[in-house]
Structures are given as C-alpha cells and as structure tokens.
C-alpha cells in the first residue's frame, strides 16, 4: 500500500518552480509523476481539492527526549505530533539522557525511529562529549551511524578553540555545525529578554548581546575553517544583520528562525506564564520586524520549531524555576500562514521553501522536492480554514504551548510519508 494518487490540489514545488493544479502520483513510496489527470486505475486516492500540495515539510530542530526523558516525549509521540503539524521529516537534537555523543546512542535513535516513528527522523549529534564543551564527541562514528549535523544545542560550546576544532572536523565530514548561540556568562541567571519588560516585571534579563557575540564569533570561525555553519533559532535584529553580512561575503552559512520568534514579543511575559519562557527568549517588535525582513529577503533559510516538550509539572512552578522551551510542531504551519503569508510578508511558495528546500539544503538531505524518484513525502495544507489550537488535544506528550487557544487561518490537512497517509485532519 505504498501507492497513492493525490488529486486536484494546488501543487507547489519550489525546487522546480511548479505552482499548478495537478495530481501527484506516488508509487512504491516514491514520487512517480506530477501531471494533469493521472492514470485512471484502481489506486488509493487522496482528494486535495482546495488545498496546497507541497513536498514533505522538514523541521530541522526538535527535541524528542528519548532516550532518557520519556515522560515528556518519546520518538513515537514526537513523530505523531510532527505528522499532525504537517511535517514528514524531523531532526532531533542530542540533549537526551544520555546525550547523543556516540554511535551507540545515534544507532539507538535511528533504530527506534525505524520501529515506532511515523515520520522520518534524523538525529543530530553532540559537538562535545556529554555536551560539556570540553572534549570533542565521537563525531566521525556518529556520522557513520546516521547523524546529519552536530550541535550542542542548549549547552553551547563556550570555548572558541573547541568550536574551531569541531568546525574543521565537520567540514571534512561534510556536515553542518549548528550552534545555539548564547554566551552563558552574559545570559547567566536570565529568564526573559533583557529590556524594558524585564525591568518592569522584575525578572532577570537575557541580553540580545548574549546571542549576538556568539553569532559573531561563530561566523568568524566559519570563515577561518570554511565550515558549513548554521545559526539555530536566531532571534535578534543584529543576528540577522550579521548573517546577511556573512552571506554577502559568500561564507557557507545559514540560519533558522522559530515561529514564536516571528509571532510574539516579550510583552507576553506580563502574565508570568512559563509557556512564554524559552531560549532564546521572546524579543521585541523591532527584532520581529528584522527577523521577518530576513525571512522575506532570503537571509533566513529555514523555519524550525525548536519543539521542546516539558511535562506539565515542570512548567507548573514559579517562573524562574520553570525550564526553558515550548512545543511547536503542531502550530508551525498555522503561525507561518497567519503571521507571514496572510499578512502579506511572504508568498506561500516562499513559505513552502522555508520548510522544504531551505532545511534540506542546509542539511544536504535528498528531500524537500516533488521530483520523480524522490521519497513520496507530501504535506497537504489549507490556506484559509480558520481553526483553534487546543493543546489538550496535542499528540505530543507535553502541553507546554503558548498558542493554546490561538486562532489560526490555514493549517495542515494531511501528511504523507513514503506514500502512506500518516495523519489526516479529522472531519476532513
């Protein structure tokens, strides 16, 4: 049952510039043809009239919490949430227990994903052992076991010399280095963006500069080493400017932004709701404007969710004690359509690019295009339907979303992985 005919949808494929109402035929789990009125034979069909049919969306930055923190999420539950959010491929960060810093852990994740995940899962390996920032992890062995990038996400490498060595190695292995750019000395103890709001609320601030000095450092190291370097969840105006500058110098650098960093500001913190607490923190309207400008002009390569599930009890504490991070898989398309496309900031094709060819290019994945022979991964979404997100109905094991109760215009309708419909919106 790996054959499927998706009929009548508006097919958008940024890789080929296609934007036309046609059918998509998947046979044996791979794209076979795209065209008008494909063969009328007995085959499973999916009616996509009124919807956009796009290459399978890729989220290059999620936390699946397995192994070790399964009460918050598992590879299985995270993959289900991904499918419900319209993603066919996700890349999981290494901050599990133990940290994914060896081929053993990488192999476990790959094997487990094969058994239980309904979407494609690609692990990202740690840069340093235990992500402690002291000694390089077994990067070559992890590469052989299946990692697609390295990152010490959440525990950034503070020692520039070690970062340099990691970049040199990553270059030789042809994988990107992804950095969660944060100078831990500057951000230490902070709970939200430093500025007028943190001063008003009496919460300790995380200055924009704590991100920017590390973006600057890493871009300089990328130039020294020639490595492919990717800024994770970029959040400030200056970071956008520096990445644009590095790109203008033809460095092999890229960056991603999360939906929450282009949708909401630090003014949301006034309720002390820990579902607005994440790193980097929600910034100001000026930062949002710069980030959206970067998305529109091509400085930003990908939208990634930084899906970071936390069990309810962990977020039900005093704000300063709550862990950082929010879920995001199920709201990414809704937010992108509502905040970017419907507000006229980018075209729907550009949005598809940010979820497909963008991340696929950063990671050199042979995905994100609807071409013959490619994996039969397809994301089908609606542009206009209004819907309300209910975090209690989430397929993730966690509920820590600031977008609970948000009204969206447009969202995912069905998710197809290798020709299988792995998720379909109820009632439609």
């Amino acid at each position: 049952m790996k054959d499927l005919l998706i009929t009548g949808g508006r097919v958008i494929d940024p890789s080929s510039g296609l934007d036309v109402e046609q059918d998509v035929l998947i046979r044996d789990g791979r794209i076979e043809a795209i065209g008008p009125e494909l063969p009328n034979e007995p085959i499973r069909r999916l009616d996509a009239r009124g919807c956009v049919v796009a290459p399978g969306f890729i989220d290059m930055h999620v936390h699946l919490r397995e192994p070790g923190i399964e009460h918050a999420e598992t590879i299985e539950s995270g993959a289900r949430a991904a499918a419900a959010g319209g993603f066919t491929t996700i890349c999981c960060m290494p901050n599990t227990l133990p940290v994914n810093d060896s081929a053993t852990v990488t192999s476990y994740i790959v094997q487990r994903a094969r058994e239980v995940a309904i979407v494609n899962v690609f692990p990202i390996g740690a840069i340093t052992k235990g992500s402690l920032g002291e000694e390089l992890a077994a990067i070559g062995s992890m590469r052989e076991a299946g990692i697609v990038a390295i990152s010490d996400d959440g525990r950034p490498v503070m020692n520039a010399r070690i970062m340099r060595r990691a970049m040199e190695l990553a270059r030789a292995l042809d994988i990107p280095v992804i950095d969660h750019c944060e100078d831990l000395n500057l951000s230490s103890g902070g709970d939200m963006n430093e500025g007028a709001e943190s001063v008003r609320l009496g919460l300790r601030g995380i200055p924009s500069a704590s991100e920017e000095v590390m973006v600057a450092r890493d871009l300089l190291l990328a130039e020294v080493t020639g490595a492919r370097f990717h800024v994770a969840h970029l959040s400030t105006a200056h970071s956008v400017g520096m990445v644009a500058f590095a790109k203008a110098r033809s460095l092999d650098v890229s960056c991603e932004v999360t939906p929450h960093h282009f949708a909401i500001t630090d003014r949301k913190l006034a309720t002390y709701d820990s579902n607005y607490k994440m790193k980097p923190p929600l910034r100001t309207q000026a930062d949002i404007d710069a980030v959206i400008e970067g998305i529109a002009t091509g400085v930003v390569d990908a939208i990634a969710t930084d899906h970071a599930p936390h069990a309810g009890s962990e977020k039900m504490q005093e704000f300063e004690r709550c862990p950082f991070g929010i879920t995001g898989l199920e709201t990414a398309i809704g937010l992108s359509l509502t905040e970017l496309v419907h507000k006229g900031r980018i075209s729907v094709t550009r949005m598809v690019e940010l979820f497909t060819t963008g991340p696929a290019g950063v990671l050199k994945l042979d995905r994100g295009a609807l071409k013959g022979g490619a994996p039969g991964d397809v994301t089908i979404f609606d542009l206009e339907r209004e819907w309300t997100y209910d975090a209690q109905q989430s397929l993730s094991k966690s509920r820590n979303s600031p977008f609970d109760g948000y009204r969206f215009r447009g969202g995912p309708i069905a998710t197809v992985v290798a020709g299988e419909i792995v998720w379909q919106r109820e009632g439609g």
Partner: protein, 307 residues
C-alpha cells in the same frame, strides 16, 4: 458590584486605578488613629479566614498583616513556608491546592520569585494579596509609604521623590514608582549603574535617572532609601565602603533637600550601609511611622477585598 480587587486580590500597584488607591488610602487614614487604641477591634471580617503564606523570611510585614486581620475580627493563620512541606519538595501549586482546600477567604503571600502570586492567581479562585514577590512589586508597602507621605504633605501631586539604592532588585521601588507616577509626582531614581538599569525610565515619563546622589536629592520632598539586597545581587556592584561613600545618605545630602524633607526606608535598615545613624534618628526620619501605617493600610486592603 465586585471590583477586580475583590476577585483577584491585590497583585500589584501597576494594574490598580488611581481611584482605587485613593479609596484605600482614605480608609487607611480612618484606621490610623486606631493604632493608639491597642484594644480597639472591628468585626467587619468576623468569620473570615486569612492565610499568611510566607515563603521568605519577614517579620514586620507578616506581623503587620496578622494584626490587621485580627483588628478586623478575622482569623489569621501564618505559615512560614520554609518550615512546612515546601522544604520537603512540595510544589507551589500543591501547597496552594492544599491551602485552598482549607477554604480561606484570602491568601497573603510573600515569595522570593517574581510573579509567584500572579501564577497562583491564575489557578486559584481565592483572592491573593501580594506581600512582596521577588524583585517585582510590594504593593502594600507603596500604599503605606503614600499614607506616610500624606501625613506630612497635603497631596502627592507635584512632589519630588528621590529613590536611592538598589533599584534593580527592589520590589518596593517598583511599587512606589507606579503609585507615585499615577499621582503625577516627579521621581528621581539613583544608584550605581549596575543597580539602575536604563530601562527603568520606560516605567513612566515621570521617572528620571541619576548616578549622583547629590543631584538626586536636590530639592527633594521625599527621600526613600532602599535596603541593599545582598541576597538578590548575583555579583557585588561595588564594595560596601565604596557604596556608602557614593550612595549612602548622610546629613550633608539631607541638607540639599527641602528643609522639611521626609526620609523613608522600608526597613530593616543597615546603619552605615545605606544611611548614617544621624539621618536614621533625625527629625526627618519617618521610618517608625511607616511601620505603624503598615497596619492601617493592610486593614484597609483586607477590608476592601473581603468585606
């Protein structure tokens, strides 16, 4: 008609209307002379139970709330949270759920985390009175400071108020800034740079910043000194000696203010650290009046929320 105060309690000054503040101060003014009659009681809150939940050590605020509750005929139970199940790892929500099951009519809460009462107010239907949350607000302190100033000045409008010290970590400063700004007083904030973030100026157009105490106290009607909150500072801004030299209040500073300047301090004071003994004991100092007025203000707040 139920007001926001009656449903949510008193979480901060920032969200309070000026008229609401005026009516609390008016009622507190009525309660003021009662301090002199130690046996005088009311039965306005007879049959009501108030839980004082203090997650942070406090003597004067806790005792002040207890006395205020009893003077109004309410039952008051105080829980020092360090000694209770909190230290056994029970979460804030669990503790509060347990307390809520005891059906108090209000919870008075002091906590070291900013926003802790706001967090609970979202989950509990019981009014919560913030008795100081982290480095955010301490609303009843600002109300009693206003009452104290009004004991020496006819109105708050147009007064020049200098607030000096560790503004960054001061919940007293924040509540006072919001209250005084609502009454169009001029506010000068003064302290060493790391304790005086520039963004404080965004709190109100009435707020000005200065790093120079001589400049800050010039022509002041009120000088509010803040306690140096060593427990909240994560790195020392300067040595104690240097701090007192540049930001400690001494008689020569008081001389630069208005002749009838009022010197205030939320207590407990560190003599020789924030202000010299001469200033603490001088005629200008109203520090003990502040303590007395605390009870009157808290009676007014409890009555307004519970009666």
């Amino acid at each position: 008609m139920t007001t926001a105060l009656q449903t949510a309690g008193l979480l901060d000054i920032e969200s309070l209307d000026r008229s609401e503040i005026e009516s609390i101060l008016e009622r507190a003014h009525f309660f003021q002379p009662i301090q002199k009659e130690s046996f005088r009681r009311f039965d306005t809150l007879r049959g009501k139970m108030i839980v004082n939940l203090f997650y942070e050590a406090s003597t004067r605020t806790r005792v002040s709330f207890e006395i205020a509750a009893r003077r109004l005929g309410a039952d008051a139970v105080s829980i020092a949270a360090q000694a209770s199940s909190v230290s056994k790892g029970e979460s804030l929500v669990d503790t509060l759920n347990t307390l809520a099951a005891m059906r108090p009519n209000a919870i008075v809460m002091r906590h070291s985390a900013s926003g802790a009462p706001h967090f609970l107010a979202r989950y509990l239907a019981i009014p919560i009175i913030n008795a100081g949350d982290g480095t955010h607000e301490h609303p009843t302190q600002a109300l009693l400071d206003a009452l104290t100033i009004l004991g020496r000045r006819p109105k708050l409008e147009g007064l020049r108020v200098a607030i000096i010290g560790d503004i960054a970590h001061s919940r007293v400063a924040r509540s006072n800034i919001h209250l005084l700004a609502k009454f169009d007083a001029e506010i000068v904030l003064c302290g060493p740079p790391s304790l005086l973030p520039r963004e404080l100026a965004a709190l109100s157009p009435r707020v000005h910043l200065s790093y120079d105490i001589n400049e800050a106290v010039r022509g002041a009607d009120v000088i509010m000194m803040l306690r140096v909150q060593l427990e909240r500072q994560h790195e020392a801004p300067m040595s104690a000696g240097e701090y007192f030299r540049f930001y400690g209040l001494r008689p020569e500073h008081v001389a630069r203010a208005k002749p009838d300047v009022i010197v205030m301090h939320p207590g407990p004071i560190n003599r020789g650290r924030e202000l010299s003994s001469e200033v603490a004991d001088s005629q200008s100092s109203v520090i003990l009046n502040q303590v007395e007025n605390g009870i009157a203000v808290r009676m007014a707040v409890l009555e307004r929320i519970l009666a």
